[in-house]
Subunit: 360 residues, 2 copies
C-alpha cells in the first residue's frame, strides 16, 4: 500500500523519538512491501520560533491531506521558556488543540498497562495488582471545557472568568460508539465516568451511554463518579477494562493511570476521527531537560506508530510485528534510563530504536 | 465556654459514627469545663424519607444558628436506592450542596497523611514515600462548575447540555488567603493546581494566587497543572505540603489523595466560611453496605470533631487531646475492620469510640 505520513517532531525530545519511530515505520514498509512517504511539519515551540504561531494553516493543511500523523511532543519548561510569555492562543499547546479540532479528532484512546518485565516500576504494591492492569481510557477530545466559549471581563467592576462546558447528544453518541467498539474487542466491560450528581452535561452523558449501550448487549456498561474513579485507579486498577469519559476528566484520569503503570515512557496514544486519518503520539511530554542527549525512551512513540498502522492503515499484522518487537526487546533486557533497573542493559534512544527494528 | 453544636447523622453509617464523635465531644466538654449543647437535624436520604427533600429550610436555619456542625455522611447506593430516581435537586447530595452554599462554606480543608501504624495500608510502595506523606488540600467549595448556571435543552433540535465554570477575583482571593494561612502554619509550601494552559478561570486563578502571595513572602508558591498533580500524588505525595485548587479539581484530587493514604476511614475534613461557623465531616462516604453493624470506623468523624474544636471554637488544647487519644489508640493496637491487619486487635465502632474517650 502507498501511504502518506506526516511527522511532527515538535519540541524537547520530540525529534529524537520521532526519528526512531520513523525508522521503524520505514523498516515495516520495506519488510511488508508498502510505500510510506514522510513529510515533516513544525508544531509547538519550534513553529513559534520559526513562524510566530504554534501551527500554521499551511502545515495544518499538510496534516489534513495525509493518511496519518505521528507526533513527538510539544512544549517546553513553562517556568523558563519564553513561549509561555505569549498569549495563550500562541503557546505551544495551542497547536495541539488546533490540530485536534481541525482534524476532528474526537476520540483519544490511551492504553495503560503493565509489561511483565516492567511491573517492578509500578508505584503500587503487588497486592493492588492482584486483578492485573490492562485498561484503555477513551477520552472525548474535541468538546467540553476545552472548546466551550470562555472569557474574562469585569462584571460590576469585579474581574470574572468564565469557561463553558458543553456537550451535545451527537458528540456523546459518537464517542460512546468508539468506546463500545473498543470494549467489544477487549474484555467487554465499559465504565463510563462522569459527575452526574452535579453536572447537567454528565447527566446527558449517562443517558446517551445507556441508549448506545442497547446496541451492544454483550458489553457490560456501568457508571462511576469521577472522584471515585480517581480513587479506584490507585486502589484496584485491574477492575477496569475500557473507561470512557469527557475531555477534562479524561485528561486527569489518563495521566493518573499512566503514572500508576510506572512506565509512562512506554505508553502510546491514538486520536481518531470518523475517517481513517488519526494522530498518534506518546502519552508522555517533551522532557526538555533530557532533550538531545540520547536518553529519551522512544518506545511509546514506536508503539504509537503501531497504533497508526492498526487504526489508520488497517495493518494489524504489521502493528503486531512492531508490538512484539518492543516486547522482545524488553524480554532481552534492554532499557532506556527511565526504565532501567539493576541487572538490565542500559541503552540510549538510537540503540533502542535499532534493537526494535532488528526484531521486526 | 458554651457552644451549640448541630449534629447531622445522615445516612448509612452516619448515625453510628456521629454517635461516637458526639460522645467524644461531650467527654471533652466535661473534662475541660465547657458546656456543649447538641441538636440533631436530618439531611440527605433520611430527610427525603421524612420531609420529601434533602434539607428543609427549618433544619438549615438550625445549622445557621449553631456554632458548628458535625456531619456523618449522606447518600446511599446510587444503583439501588429510590432516592436516586428523584430529580437531581431532590437527591441526598443536594442537601450537602445546599448547606455548603447557604452557610457560605467556601474553604474545604482535607488533610491526607499517614499514621506510622497504618503506613502498611498505603497502596504505594515504601520507595514512593521516601519524602513522607502529610498534605492538606484546600478546595474551593462554593464556586466553579458546582454552582454555575446549567441547563439542558434542544438547540436546533439537538439535545445540548451546558454547565458553567465561573470564578470571580474575590472568590479566588479569599480561598487563596485561607491556603496561604494554612501553609504559614505548616511547612510553608503552597502548590496551586489549575489548568491554566486551557481555562480562563485557571488563568485568573493563577494571577490572583500570585498577587495574594506577595502578602506571604515566607510561603513558597508554585503552580502545577491538574493532570500533572494527579500523577504526582501517586508518584511522590511527599512533595506536597498545602495544595489549593478549585472545586472540581479539588473533588478529584482530594479523593485520590485519601485513597493514596490507604486509610480513608481516618481522614477528617473541615468546611469553613468567613466566620467561625464551620461544617466538619469525615472524608469517606456513607458505606450503606456495612451500616448498623458496628463495623464502621468512627475515627475520621472523631478527628473531624477535633478540627471543629480547633477551627470553630479555638480550642487548640482540646483538639490536640482528641488527636493524641486517636494516635494512642492506634499505638495500642486497636483497629476497626477497615484498618485491621494481623497482630492487631479488632474492635467495633462502639468500642473504638470508648477507647478514644478513655485516653482523653
Ligand atoms: C497540553 C494540554 C492542552 C493537553 C490536554 O490537556 O489535552 C495535554 O495535557 C494532553 O493530555 O494531551
Ligand atoms: C456528593 C458530592 C456532591 C460531593 C462533591 O463532589 O463535592 C462529594 O463528592 C464531596 O467531595 O464532598
Amino acid at each position: 500500500m502507498e501511504k502518506k505520513i506526516v511527522l511532527i517532531p515538535g519540541d524537547g525530545i520530540g525529534p529524537e523519538i520521532v526519528r526512531e519511530a520513523k525508522a521503524v515505520l520505514a523498516h515495516v514498509a520495506e519488510k511488508f512491501g508498502h510505500t510510506f512517504s514522510f513529510t515533516e511539519i513544525d508544531m509547538g515551540g519550534c513553529s513559534i520560533d520559526r513562524y510566530g504561531e504554534p501551527l500554521t494553516d499551511e502545515n495544518l493543511q499538510k496534516a489534513k491531506e495525509s493518511d496519518a500523523v505521528l507526533l513527538g511532543a510539544v512544549g517546553g519548561n513553562a517556568e523558563t521558556s519564553p513561549w509561555y510569555k505569549l498569549a495563550p492562543s500562541l503557546r505551544p499547546e495551542a497547536g495541539l488543540l488546533k490540530i485536534r479540532k481541525e482534524l476532528g479528532l474526537f476520540a483519544n484512546l490511551r492504553p495503560a498497562f503493565l509489561y511483565p518485565e516492567l511491573a517492578a516500576a509500578c508505584p503500587l504494591k503487588p497486592e493492588q495488582l492482584a486483578n492485573g492492569f490492562d485498561l484503555v481510557i477513551v477520552r472525548e477530545l474535541t468538546g467540553g471545557l476545552y472548546f466551550g466559549e470562555r472569557h474574562t471581563e469585569k462584571v460590576n467592576s469585579v474581574e470574572t472568568a468564565v469557561d463553558t462546558l458543553v456537550y451535545t447528544e451527537p458528540e456523546i453518541r459518537r464517542i460512546a460508539i468508539k468506546a463500545f467498539e473498543a470494549a467489544t474487542k477487549r474484555r467487554k466491560s465499559l465504565i463510563s465516568v462522569d459527575k452526574a450528581n452535579v453536572l447537567d452535561t454528565s447527566r446527558l452523558w449517562r443517558r446517551v451511554m445507556e441508549e448506545v449501550g442497547k446496541d451492544y448487549p454483550d458489553v457490560k456498561l456501568s457508571h462511576m463518579l469521577v472522584d471515585n474513579a480517581a480513587m479506584q485507579l490507585v486502589y484496584n486498577p485491574g477492575q477496569f477494562d475500557v473507561i470512557v469519559t469527557e475531555n477534562t476528566f479524561g485528561d486527569i484520569l489518563s495521566d493518573e493511570a499512566s503514572m500508576v503503570t510506572g512506565s509512562i515512557g512506554m505508553l502510546p496514544s491514538a486520536s481518531l476521527n470518523e475517517t481513517k486519518l488519526g494522530l498518534y503520539e506518546p502519552s508522555h511530554g517533551s522532557a526538555p531537560d533530557i532533550a538531545g542527549q540520547d536518553k529519551a525512551n522512544p518506545l511509546a512513540t514506536i508503539l504509537s506508530a503501531a497504533m497508526l498502522l492498526r487504526y489508520s492503515f488497517d495493518m494489524e499484522t504489521e502493528a503486531r510485528a512492531v508490538e512484539s518487537a518492543v516486547a522482545a526487546v524488553l524480554r532481552d533486557g534492554y532499557r532506556t534510563p527511565d526504565i532501567y533497573t539493576e541487572g538490565t542493559k542500559k541503552v540510549g534512544t538510537r540503540e533502542m530504536g535499532a534493537l526494535v527494528r532488528e526484531r521486526i
